[in-house]
Symmetry: C2
Subunit: 234 residues, 2 copies
């Protein structure tokens, strides 16, 4: 069946995100080490994020709250409030950062929007994601925007039902095997994996557990249009 709808992940597929988290996390590590020289700030922060995921969900505000809690815990309450204020300000800075598009995104979306319905399907904080999309200037190229709290089989199924999409007409494009590829394949749709140079540990899926077919891997979004044309011809 010909492709009718192409879904795009936002963070690290259309615009840089994880690299901003990494920059902040490096600064966090340095700040903690000034108080506790042998602290393993990265491991503790990762554990805290996982522990808090079911209470806070994804996003920069959740990340900021987890950094604060980790800092207090690792310093056993000795960290001065002024340093915690520094962490609060990192969070704000991340939220206000300009949306920095990946190479080739704008031209690819413009071209594909001529032939397909484009959907932005992204998870995380509603307010933050809407604000990033608004600042990206790409809003008009999408027929619709779906911001979900978790990308799984149920949430994709809900989108297909609400929008009357036949799974066979749908291709999802994203950087996460766990969120953008696996659940979509399970519903009988196709997927394109475009890895980003950093993957959040939480999104990692061992390669050998991936289905053999139904998905493709590209090294850049610029290769997407030729791939979709090929799929449409076959």
């Amino acid at each position: 069946m010909p492709i009718r709808v192409v879904g795009f992940d936002g963070d690290d597929t259309l615009w840089h995100s994880e690299s901003h988290f990494e920059v902040t996390q490096t600064a966090f590590r340095d700040l903690i080490r000034r108080h506790v020289p042998d602290a393993d700030a990265d491991t503790r922060l990762a554990e805290m994020e996982m522990k808090n995921l079911s209470v806070y969900g994804y996003g920069v505000k959740s990340f900021t709250l987890s950094m604060l809690e980790t800092a207090i815990e690792l310093t056993e309450g000795r960290i001065p409030a002024s340093d915690l204020e520094v962490i609060l300000n990192w969070g704000k800075k991340m939220l206000l950062e300009p949306t920095e598009l990946l190479d080739g995104v704008e031209s690819t979306l413009r071209e594909l929007s001529q032939s397909y319905d484009l959907l932005l399907i992204t998870k995380g904080d509603l307010f933050d994601q809407e604000s990033k999309l608004a600042r990206s200037g790409l809003g008009d190229l999408f027929l619709g925007v779906e911001i979900v709290s978790e990308k799984n089989v149920d949430s994709y199924r809900g989108i297909f039902t609400r929008r009357g999409i036949d799974a066979e007409q749908f291709v999802m494009v994203g950087n996460s095997l766990r969120s953008d590829v696996l659940p979509v394949l399970e519903l009988g749709a196709r997927a394109v994996h475009i890895p980003y140079h950093v993957t959040w540990h939480h999104e990692h899926v061992p390669e050998e557990s991936m289905p053999a077919s139904g998905w493709h891997r590209l090294s850049s979004i610029s290769e997407l249009e030729p791939l979709l044309s090929r799929l449409d011809e076959s």
Copy 2:
């Protein structure tokens, strides 16, 4: 035109919310006064929330981050990290609190769901709102759920378009004149205002600026079914 779709606000219309914020805010005031006896914690927190609204959006995580920032500022950085940890824990407690329905909500929704399509239209943090709805046990009574970052004419218009709703067939029910009544009237739909005993200052609208018709005020959701029946007959 007969009513086909009834939209419901969530916070302080179906379940208690603002009263949980008030409890936390009282504790916050007491905590700050232990460090700065003459501090006007309420005013400063309200100002901080407004200042941060365009960066953080609505919700408990935003409120928690604003409490932390206010505490550091009012104590000029002298507040110990252990007290800031107390504030972090208040935020988590609020997020984990059971969803406490207002009187008459469940029976009213059950009855109305026999005659109308019910939509939950709520603003705030996506993850928190979904989690509250899940814990409310009301999920199955709604045909759909719309969580928006701001309730204004544009967001209601978007919902009408996406769901093929004619404004004249739609009635919105909620506790906020600003978010649940005014934008809906502007689109030619009707609204029912059910005030909650506390209104967040940000939602306040002077009574004299309200349109003369198109909306009704009830003192309890239990009066809703008779009102809708009357509207449907006239």
